[in-house]
């Protein structure tokens, strides 16, 4: 298997073309790196070769490192990771030095990178080691270093080279946020050197005329100074002092990769380039060996992709949606119409009044116009997308729809009525999905004459932003319906999880206890600031009280009442309800009423926690410590996830983890609730849960599944792996 090929032309330019065998996108493996190393040696040693151009045989340059390789290196421990990373450094450093005399910096061979399209991760780190980077003028291409998003940081010299090329301040958004740019913006940011129509030709032309001085990187030249100032230069001082504060503030201190990245930049900036690479490799190794990065890579990259590619899809033929009918043009229906039309699906958007249907379609117009103002969408594209949406009151228009998504009021009667009306028109083999978030699928399926073709597809709001879609199987839901839902979700480029039918399904089932625990603590007189900060310091994007305000207090009241009615004596929310009921009674319904747990200004901007909280629920003399509050908030969610698995609502821990992060923002650094429990160890988790149960009630009692696992000394992912191997 070869990933790299080299050809030398008559003028003496050796072109090394990256074209990974059997893949649509280049990703770097260890074998491929060894091949590249060999070719570089060969070209540098060949008198006939005057210069080298590195490019891709695919439309894009490369998507980065094969993250499975990193997972493999990790198995060998810190030494294997460090050595592996250092060998990449040696290769890239060899390219950068290109055979030049290390003293006189003369006699090297020019090496240029020519990027036809996207260049991410090592796909940019390799070009950064070259002497000049040419990118095709391809507005769809994405160029950048997104490693931080999966819990690591650019570890093949990208951190050191970019921070030295641009200065710590300018490199910060690219490294710390993983910001991606199109080629023009990448050139403006100084990441690539030139944008060319034909980057390979431009690179060849440059290589043939490049002088010795053109090959010397600024950091290898005498008297080099870090742009924007090194850490103890007066200007650099402020940058570095500020950087730590900003990273702490933004990450709430829970992401090891951001810290390690910053340390690599800081420590590297104080020494020569080669020493800096060694420092970068040590921090990269440290991050990779940190359980958080492994869990993040596993959930946010490997398993997310596996689920998107249909890891749990039944083996039935392609069920791609061609014509979609949406019943109900409210907020959810309108959002589903937009994402579907945007993905090329023909949409019939139905509501009881034409005006309402049109309003639903206008939602797409609004989003597309916003895209135009941001230069992300063209007028032609807007016309095309809107052209796919038919807004009507006429059920006859549903004829020929192969999938229906019902998104009317959460009222079984209304739902049953529209189900019948739609089924009267749609083809016999069409699949009918309900976007309910609270009603049991199996009950709603009773309105259908074809319950095996009836399924739940639960979108989160706002539909165009939220990445997760929950697919819920009713008792009688058949395999083709599941495949249909999965293929639909794949078409609209979201991530699916498939769960069984039970109250609140998976995501809402786990988030509700989190909200309740926060509310309950307010009732107990715990400092509301402590509740909110404790949650965010565990990596939750929003504290529970803010989240209640966002989703509205009256919704919480409604859910509480319905749950209590359904559960009777088993209801655990009796100490939660007085708090939200009182807020609701006072008209503090959350952000929408500009009053809730928080105070808001006239414009609806959140000001701070409502001062009246203290008067209504007096601050307890003795305040719990931070850990106690955090454990309550995290275990409330995590134990519920375990119960969902125990009860068979969840059937795959990968879905439990990916769904938690994408669905309700469960602390991404953990890799999800099951990864977090593994990190902690089942025995320790049981111990904490038992202690919490003793202090705060049975809702924290560890589920049997977890206790058994602790007894066996097992772990969720360990046991899943052995089951998969068996």
């Amino acid at each position: 298997m070869t990933d790299f090929a080299m050809q030398t032309d008559a003028e003496g330019v050796a072109t090394i073309t990256w074209d990974a065998a059997g893949r649509s996108m280049n990703v770097l493996t260890l074998e491929a790196a060894a091949e590249l190393n060999r070719l570089v040696d060969q070209a540098l040693g060949d008198e006939a070769v005057k210069g080298i151009v590195i490019t891709s045989g695919k439309p894009d340059f490369a998507a980065g490192m094969d993250l499975n390789v990193l997972a493999g290196l990790k198995q060998g421990g810190a030494r294997a990771v460090f050595d592996g990373v250092m060998s990449l450094h040696h290769l890239l450093r060899k390219i950068e030095r290109a055979g030049m005399d290390p003293k006189t910096l003369k006699g090297g061979k020019p090496i240029a990178a020519a990027l036809p399209g996207t260049a991410l991760g090592i796909g940019l780190e390799l070009p950064l080691a070259c002497h000049r980077i040419f990118a095709a003028d391809n507005p769809k291409a994405k160029i950048g270093l997104p490693e931080i998003q999966v819990g690591i940081f650019p570890g093949a010299g990208g951190t050191t080279r970019l921070s030295r090329k641009l200065g710590a301040m300018m490199a910060a958004p690219l490294l710390l946020e993983g910001k991606l740019n199109d080629p023009q913006k990448a050139r403006a940011a100084g990441v690539v050197d030139e944008v060319a129509e034909d980057p390979v030709a431009a690179a060849k032309a440059w290589v043939l005329q490049a002088k010795d001085a053109d090959l010397v990187k600024p950091w290898d030249a005498k008297g080099w100074k870090m742009p924007g100032g090194a850490p103890y230069h007066p200007a650099g001082f402020m940058t570095f002092v500020g950087a730590s504060a900003m990273v702490s503030g933004r990450t709430m201190g829970v992401y090891p990769a951001a810290k390690a990245l910053l340390s690599a930049v800081y420590e590297g900036a104080l020494v020569d380039f080669d020493t800096a690479l060694k420092i970068e490799a040590r921090w990269f190794t440290w991050v990779l060996m940190n359980p958080s990065s492994g869990a993040m890579i596993r959930s946010l990259f490997i398993n997310k992709e596996a689920l998107e590619k249909g890891a749990n899809r039944p083996d039935v033929p392609d069920q791609k949606v061609r014509k979609l009918g949406i019943l109900g043009a409210g907020m959810m229906g309108a959002g589903i119409a937009y994402v579907s039309a945007n993905a090329g699906i023909e949409v019939v958007l139905i509501d009881s009044a034409q005006e309402a249907a049109e309003r639903g379609k206008a939602y797409s117009t609004g989003l597309l116009d916003k895209g135009i103002s941001r230069k992300k969408v063209t007028e032609a594209k807007k016309a095309e997308v809107l052209g796919r949406i038919t807004a009507t009151t006429d059920y006859a228009a549903l004829e020929g729809c192969d999938l229906i998504v019902e998104a009317v009021f959460e009222d079984p009667g209304v739902k049953a009525e529209v189900t019948k009306k739609a089924e009267a028109v749609i083809p016999q083999d069409a699949i009918f999905a309900t976007n309910t978030s609270t009603l049991p699928i199996s009950d709603l399926a009773r309105a259908s004459t074809r319950p095996e073709q009836f399924i739940g597809i639960h979108f989160f709001s706002p539909v165009d932003k939220m990445l997760l879609v929950e697919i819920i199987k009713g008792r009688e839901t058949g395999e083709r319906a599941v495949a249909k839902a999965l293929d639909f979700v794949r078409q609209i480029r979201k991530t699916p999880i498939v769960v069984n039918d039970a109250r609140f399904f998976y995501a809402n089932r786990c988030i509700i206890p989190y909200l309740n625990e926060g509310i309950r603590m307010v009732g107990e007189g715990v400092s509301p600031a402590l509740i909110e900060n404790a949650a965010r310091m565990m990596g939750m994007p929003l504290g529970p009280l803010q989240l209640v305000d966002e989703t509205s207090v009256d919704l919480a009241v409604k859910i509480a009442k319905a749950t209590k009615a359904a559960m009777g004596d088993a209801y655990a929310g009796n100490d939660v309800d007085p708090v939200i009921f009182r807020l609701a009674d006072e008209g503090r319904l959350g952000r929408k009423s500009k009053a809730g747990f928080y105070a808001y200004d006239e414009a609806g901007k959140r000001q701070g926690l409502w001062e009246g909280l203290g008067a209504n629920w007096p601050r307890a003399e003795e305040q719990p410590d931070l850990t106690e509050v955090q454990q309550r908030l995290m275990f409330a969610q995590t134990l519920e996830a375990v119960r969902a698995l125990e009860e068979g609502v969840l059937t795959d821990i990968r879905e439990g983890d990916v769904g938690a992060i994408l669905g309700w923002g469960f602390a991404p650094w953990t890799g999800g609730p099951f990864s977090w429990l593994d990190m902690m160890g089942a025995a320790r988790a049981v111990g904490i849960a038992e202690a919490l149960a003793a202090r705060h009630g049975e809702r924290f009692a560890p589920p049997k599944l977890l206790r058994d696992m602790a007894e066996r000394g097992g772990s969720f992912y360990g046991e899943a792996a052995s089951r998969a191997a068996a």
Binding site: F237, A243, S244, A245, M246, S248, E532, L626
Partner: protein, 403 residues
């Protein structure tokens, strides 16, 4: 173990620490040497009279670098056999110098020391020596580093001090400092700064603004709000350490924080026998010394635990202390001290403090001890306690007793 006594204490007037400050033309070396010469002359320090010069100085780079203490000895008329050591415990450097001297004397390691410190903040900028705790992300994040102004505001938030209380304390500091100068209470300690021709450069603290009122301060914008709330957002770092707080209240500004000034101070410490042999009369005994580390984020609360510690070392209670000097680094530091020990404001910083007269970092600790001693003598009181908050979360304290 023998006792350590203070025989003399002197200081220069404090000049504004900026280009138009009167001492801006004087080098750190020259200011140190001239003050040491005055001490030698006042006390007849000839030959190998003292064991060492312990010289506090925070920003030890450029002219203050290279062991300024040794350079100062060589520049002065002191005997070259007196070696010189520069030390840095940030704002308590001058106090630590005196305490180290006292403790070496007590332990029998030398009979007498010159101790004190200097800081020419207008010539060698604060922070120009770098600081890993602020710049190195590994420690900055581990220690939840925030600048001192944020820490001072955090103290106010945690312990409930208002802007009005802080401003009132600042106005009182100005009033007391003016009164002290007008009544000549600093006369014994002040060594005017003269040039090489004997011409006077500065003879009075020049940072004071005696016409300050609560109303005039009310117009000043909080100095640390922007860096706390916007760029780069230090408040969030502080709240990570103090998550029960929702926000940091920014109450400090230039008018209720210590002034940036140039200045030096020295204290002569020795055994009773050493003094007797030279005809010098001890003025006070150094009863106890202490230092402590505290949370680096709130950073400036050290005076409270270090006072507990020094009282314990002295076998005393807070009511045994007649007068206090608590460095006015920021108003909230002093407010917190008075709140914690429930001491009467009238016995704390009787003659004003660093808000009025300025805080030459390396020298202030020695200034406080000298000022405390002068005031104990003026009021004919017995026991005094001086303490300072210290950067990176530390505190230092000294108890003296007249003899």
């Amino acid at each position: 173990m023998t006792d350590a006594y203070i025989f003399d204490a002197a200081r220069t007037p404090r000049g504004k620490g900026r280009r138009d400050g009167s001492l801006h033309e004087v080098t750190s070396l020259a200011l140190s040497a001239r003050l040491l010469n005055a001490m030698a002359e006042r006390n007849g320090l000839e030959g190998h009279a003292v064991e060492d010069l312990i010289w506090g100085n925070v920003t030890q780079v450029m002219e203050q670098g290279g062991c300024l203490a040794r350079s100062a000895v060589l520049m002065s008329d002191l005997d070259e056999r007196i070696p010189g050591v520069s030390i840095n415990r940030f704002c308590a450097s001058g106090m630590e110098a005196v305490n180290l001297a006292a403790n070496q004397v007590k332990a029998g390691a030398g009979e007498a020391y010159l101790a004190g410190g200097v800081e020419m903040m207008g010539r060698v900028a604060m922070g120009s020596d770098g600081a890993a705790i602020a710049v190195d992300p590994a420690l900055a994040m581990k220690a939840y580093f925030v600048p001192q102004g944020i820490s001072a505001d955090l103290i106010a938030t945690e312990y409930g001090f208002t802007r009005e209380e802080a401003d009132a304390l600042a106005v009182e500091s100005q009033r007391r400092a003016k009164l002290a100068w007008d009544e000549g209470r600093f006369d014994r300690s002040i060594v005017p700064v003269l040039d090489q021709n004997g011409l006077t450069i500065l003879e009075r603290d020049e940072h004071m603004r005696p016409d300050t009122t609560v109303e005039s301060l009310a117009g000043l914008k909080p100095a640390f709000k922007e860096m706390g709330e916007v760029m780069p957002g230090f408040d969030k770092v502080a709240l990570l350490k103090y998550p029960h707080l929702e926000r940091v209240e920014h109450i400090h500004h230039a008018g209720n924080s210590s002034g940036i000034v140039d200045g030096a101070a020295a204290v002569l410490v020795g055994t009773k026998e050493w003094g007797e042999a030279r005809g010098l009369t001890p003025r006070a005994r150094i009863v106890a010394t202490a230092k402590i580390g505290t949370d680096p984020t709130m950073m400036l609360t050290g005076p409270v635990p270090v006072t507990d510690r020094v009282l314990e070392a002295a076998g005393m209670g807070i009511r045994d202390i007649d007068l206090f000097e608590v460095n006015e680094a920021f108003a909230s530091v002093v407010l917190r001290f008075m709140q914690a020990f429930q001491v009467d404001p009238s016995v704390v910083n009787v003659n004003g403090g660093a808000i009025a007269m300025g805080h030459p970092l390396g020298a202030t600790g020695a200034i406080l001890i000298g000022t405390l001693l002068d005031e104990l003598e003026r009021q004919d009181k017995e026991t005094g306690l001086a303490t300072l908050c210290v950067a990176s979360g530390m505190g230092a304290a000294t108890i003296i007793e007249r003899v």
